[in-house]
């Protein structure tokens, strides 16, 4: 029977990151992927000939620079085209075209409110301060306030000391950022509903919170932590689509001797004497391993792959309670021409970034209300990008692709599930909303792929279609992610680890869960393995 030092289940970008780090440390590593392509939610697919879709995730910001450096991702083909701004269209003619140039941004905001334009600097400072507190926590295991071992205490204390150095006011500020609603936080700085809508947009992405729900301010922060070339919160398109990230990771993994097998779904993790000893594939094949790492979402990793009898009492219940409600859908569209937005000059440079069709915070909150009621979205929040404006490899000359992210789409509908008819209805709602902002849009459409939470679940294994493998709320973050007893990537089954987005620090094309998990695994197993190896 085949045997590897480590088997990684799922070739999502986190699984690949963990695998690459482990292979780099000298272990023999096998990655098993159920689909016939790799990448999971970080993937590029050619569904319509000649057009490349970033099927799921589309904007890169969170990917940790440490990972790009350690795994030489640039040498393995990663190219990121940064974009400088975004556009928020209110639907009533008003808009904000943001810019990364502070003075230009000020002028743009001043069209709506002079004092908001100046408050933006203060807001930026406070956000940066909070992001600076959190960023170092992303690349290490989260602090564990309950741990008693001296080294752990020291580590926890050093992180808390970082926080203490903020002073009383800083600590209060941090708590405020973590607990307030986006709407309340923005009210502390701004008056204009356009400015507030523009900034609140990042709070609603992928969450089961409305912009008025407590805790939604944290989501804005989460999205801001990313750094392209050290510039906090800047975003980019990946050349060739998001799948390029996964392919660069795969190439790095292979350069260290690792192996990937696609069309190899895992149905079970073999456990013997409370220890993971290998996996069983869907076709019955068994492969042994010294350790098994799951890059799947928590519920799948535990409830589907493990024998429940081997687990501590109550554990499966706690796992079931982890919140994974889906709230997003995605349309990928092949276009015969560039969409033209009626409220904006065609040469507005911010059109290279994301284009939000949003309305006010109250409108977003109403979209959220529809989601809570589980009805078909009537006026969802839409964020679209046209990456082919900056990346000619995605579509034939003169043609374009649009990535359309739709927020507050329930995982099931009150009147039933996501049938083909319901999916078509959603598609209609979304395309009509875009058409209103960009007349003539529908005439340019060649092909549309609509992915509701149901498709996201069945194709990639995102339980309930939650794009982040579990909601990003404070009760499910840091030392609570995914559960307190799982916060250090280990599970109750020895030698079985988690490395997907369900784990700290959470979702997004970030790679940090994978890298952190690899660190934990190396700390656990390599002394033993390396000792048994001939030099």
């Amino acid at each position: 029977m085949e045997r590897f030092d480590v088997i990684v289940i799922g070739a999502g970008h986190n699984g690949l990151t963990a695998a690459a780090y482990l292979a780099r440390a000298g272990l023999s590593v096998l990655v098993l992927e159920k689909n016939d392509y790799i990448g999971g939610a970080a993937v590029s697919r050619e569904v319509e000939p000649g057009f490349i879709y970033s099927s799921c995730s589309y904007a890169l910001s969170l990917l940790r620079p440490e990972i790009v450096r350690d795994l030489d991702l640039t040498l393995h083909g990663l190219r990121v085209v940064p974009y400088e701004g975004s556009v928020t269209l209110m639907g009533d003619g008003r808009y904000i075209a943001s810019s990364s140039h502070p003075d230009v941004m000020r002028r743009e905001l001043a069209r709506h409110s002079g004092s908001d334009a100046d408050a933006y600097h203060r807001y930026g400072r406070d956000m940066r301060r909070q992001a600076d507190i959190i960023a170092p926590w992303l690349m290490q295991s989260p602090p564990d306030p309950a741990a008693l071992s001296p080294t752990k205490i020291r580590k926890t204390l050093s992180l808390l000391a970082d926080m203490r150095s903020l002073g009383q006011e800083g600590l209060e500020g941090a708590i405020r950022f973590w607990t307030l609603s986006a709407s309340d936080l923005l009210d502390r700085y701004f008056d204009s509903d356009v400015v507030k809508a523009h900034l609140a947009a990042s709070a609603v992405i992928g969450t089961g919170l409305g912009p008025m729900s407590p805790g939604s301010a944290y989501i804005m922060l989460h999205h801001r932590i990313g750094g392209l070339d050290g510039a906090a919160g800047s975003w980019g398109h990946v050349r060739g689509g998001m799948g390029t990230v996964s392919h660069a990771l795969a190439a790095s993994l292979k350069s260290f001797g690792g192996e990937i097998r696609t069309s190899s779904g895992v149905s079970e993790v073999k456990v013997s004497k409370k220890r993971a000893v290998g996996v069983v594939l869907e076709d019955g094949t068994q492969i042994d391993a010294g350790a098994v790492v799951s890059g799947l979402e928590l519920k799948r990793s535990v409830l589907s792959l493990l024998d429940w009898n081997a687990l501590p009492k109550g554990f499966t219940d706690r796992v079931s309670e982890f919140r994974t409600r889906g709230s997003s859908a995605k349309l990928n569209i092949a276009l015969d021409g560039l969409p033209e937005f009626k409220d904006l000059p065609h040469d507005c440079p911010s059109l290279d970034g994301d284009i939000r069709l949003c309305g006010t915070i109250s409108d977003m909150e109403r979209a959220y209300d529809d989601w809570k009621e589980k009805v078909m979205p009537r006026d969802p929040y839409i964020e679209m990008v046209v990456p082919s404006r900056l990346d000619p490899t995605l579509a034939p000359p003169g043609k374009h692709v649009a990535s359309v992210f739709v927020q507050y789409v329930p995982d099931t509908l009150i009147g039933g599930s996501w049938t083909d008819a319901n999916r078509a209805k959603l598609e209609e709602v979304v395309l009509n909303k875009i058409e209103r902002a960009a007349p003539g849009f529908r005439n340019k459409i060649r092909h549309v792929e609509t992915r509701t939470p149901a498709e996201l679940e069945s194709e990639i294994g995102l339980t309930q279609g939650n794009i982040f493998h579990g909601e990003l709320t404070l009760d499910q973050l840091l030392f609570n992610r995914p559960l307190p007893e799982l916060a250090h990537y280990r599970t109750p089954v020895h030698g079985y680890y988690l490395c997907g987005s369900s784990t700290h620090p959470g979702g997004g094309v970030m790679g940090a869960p994978g890298a952190n998990a690899a660190n934990t695994i190396l700390a656990d197993i390599s002394p033993r393995l390396l000792r048994s190896r001939p030099a």
């Binding site: 075209a97 810019s99 140039h101 003075d103 230009v104 000020r106 002028r107 743009e108 002079g114 004092s115 908001d116 334009a117 100046d118 408050a119 600097h121 203060r122 930026g124 400072r125 940066r128 301060r129 600076d132 903020l166 002073g167 006011e169 800083g170 700085y189 560039l338 000059p345 065609h346 040469d347 507005c348 440079p349």
Partner: protein, 387 residues
């Protein structure tokens, strides 16, 4: 995409751009607060020589200008800025420092009062939100008029004579800090006798629609005195010579600074602009505490040996690093390298021998010296000496 450009959101030219670009032989530009400004017109040496020995003109548009109205403007300004800013009399002006609640300096600006109801505050930062927030409870309306006011400076020993020649009648009687409204042709202008360069100088303000007319009229009228246009670099050097600390160079506004970069007016040597003995003002409690306990840092003037700028920015005392040089330049007026440095207060007054690292890697010795580096007696005389 077509070749036409309709999108025009960008850093803007100033109302004087037509002229400043005409005279910008070196074609070197910079931008401040969202405006494009000449950085050097011809050469630093010739512009500096004119500034110190004759007469220069400079575009001052890159300042935020706020107009304040209401019954409580005076008490509002006292509260906002160090307890002193609201004490300005009609026809006068004064420097003012604005702090946040923890005593961190937001910016140093100027309050001027051309007549009873006309208060203006000019600042090197935009902070309408802070000003508005601070105005709660006061009868005081604040308006950002930066886009409607054009400002330029006429500076140098012959600046008074030059302005008189250009028709700014009666200016010789204006005392330092004085503000006066005049007519130039049909255009109304406000002149303030004030210059951050350490010498004699005036700031002229007029409506944007009159900008080119007033500027040209002044330049032509003063022809005899050969006004030279001076760019941002030389003005910055002159302000260093005058010992002034500069926002974004020597300190960062507390509104955007990182925690470690926050500085109080006491630490920056601007303590004389706050009055800790008067009623409450924003940041007072923190400043009183800092005064009692002593500040941890101090911005000091330094002089360096030699004629070439050192490589590194760190200052050490024997082997210990005690501070960081925040600005540095060859002073044509003093013929030596001068600068400002942010040092640990504990290292002051002990052993004053400091060193920086020269371009050859060897230590360059530095001394802490009193500021300003350059004073021109003419700056304080009324009437100023006619050159």
């Amino acid at each position: 995409m077509t070749g036409d450009r309709t999108w025009d959101l960008a850093v803007q030219p100033t109302p004087l751009h037509l002229r400043t670009s005409q005279f910008n032989v070196a074609n070197r530009w910079t931008d401040e607060l969202g405006w494009t400004l000449p950085s050097v017109y011809s050469s630093i040496a010739s512009e500096h020589a004119a500034l110190r020995n004759a007469c220069t003109m400079s575009d001052l548009t890159a300042l935020a200008t706020y107009s304040l109205r209401g019954a409580d403007v005076g008490s509002y300004l006292n509260r906002l800025a160090g307890g002193t800013a609201g004490t300005v009399k009609v026809g006068a002006s004064r420097r003012a420092v604005m702090c946040d609640d923890r005593g961190g300096l937001i910016a140093e600006g100027v309050v001027m009062r051309a007549d009873t109801a006309d208060w203006k505050l000019t600042l090197p930062v935009r902070c309408l939100d802070w000003l508005t927030l601070s105005a709660r409870g006061f009868d005081c309306d604040i308006e950002d008029v930066s886009d409607h006011v054009c400002a330029f400076a006429v500076e140098g020993p012959s600046s008074c004579a030059a302005l008189l020649a250009a028709g700014f009648a009666g200016l010789e009687a204006l005392r330092p800090g004085g503000v006066r409204q005049l007519k130039v042709g049909s255009a109304g202008v406000t002149v303030m006798r004030r210059s951050a360069t350490g010498g004699l100088g005036y700031e002229v303000r007029c409506a944007v629609s009159d900008a080119l007319f007033v500027f040209d009229r002044t330049r032509r009228g003063a022809e005899l005195f050969r006004p030279v246009l001076a760019g941002e670099q030389v003005r910055s050097l002159a302000r260093l010579e005058a010992g002034h600390c500069r926002l974004r160079t020597d300190y960062e506004s507390a509104l955007i600074a990182r925690e470690v970069d926050r500085r109080s007016p006491l630490e920056l040597g601007l303590g004389h602009l706050v009055n800790l003995d008067v009623g409450p003002f924003t940041g007072k409690a923190a400043l009183v505490r800092q005064k009692r306990e002593g500040a941890h840092r101090a911005l000091v003037g330094i002089e360096l040996d030699g004629a070439s700028l050192p490589e590194g920015r760190l200052l050490s005392m024997s082997t210990e690093i005690v501070g960081r040089i925040s600005s540095l330049g060859w002073s044509p007026a003093r013929k030596r390298i001068i600068g400002l440095a942010d040092v640990r207060a504990a290292s002051l007054g002990v052993n004053r021998q400091l060193s920086a690292t020269g371009s050859d890697g060897r230590p360059v010795s530095a001394r802490i010296v009193p500021r300003p580096f350059y004073v021109c007696p003419n700056a304080h005389r009324t009437p100023p000496d006619a050159h």
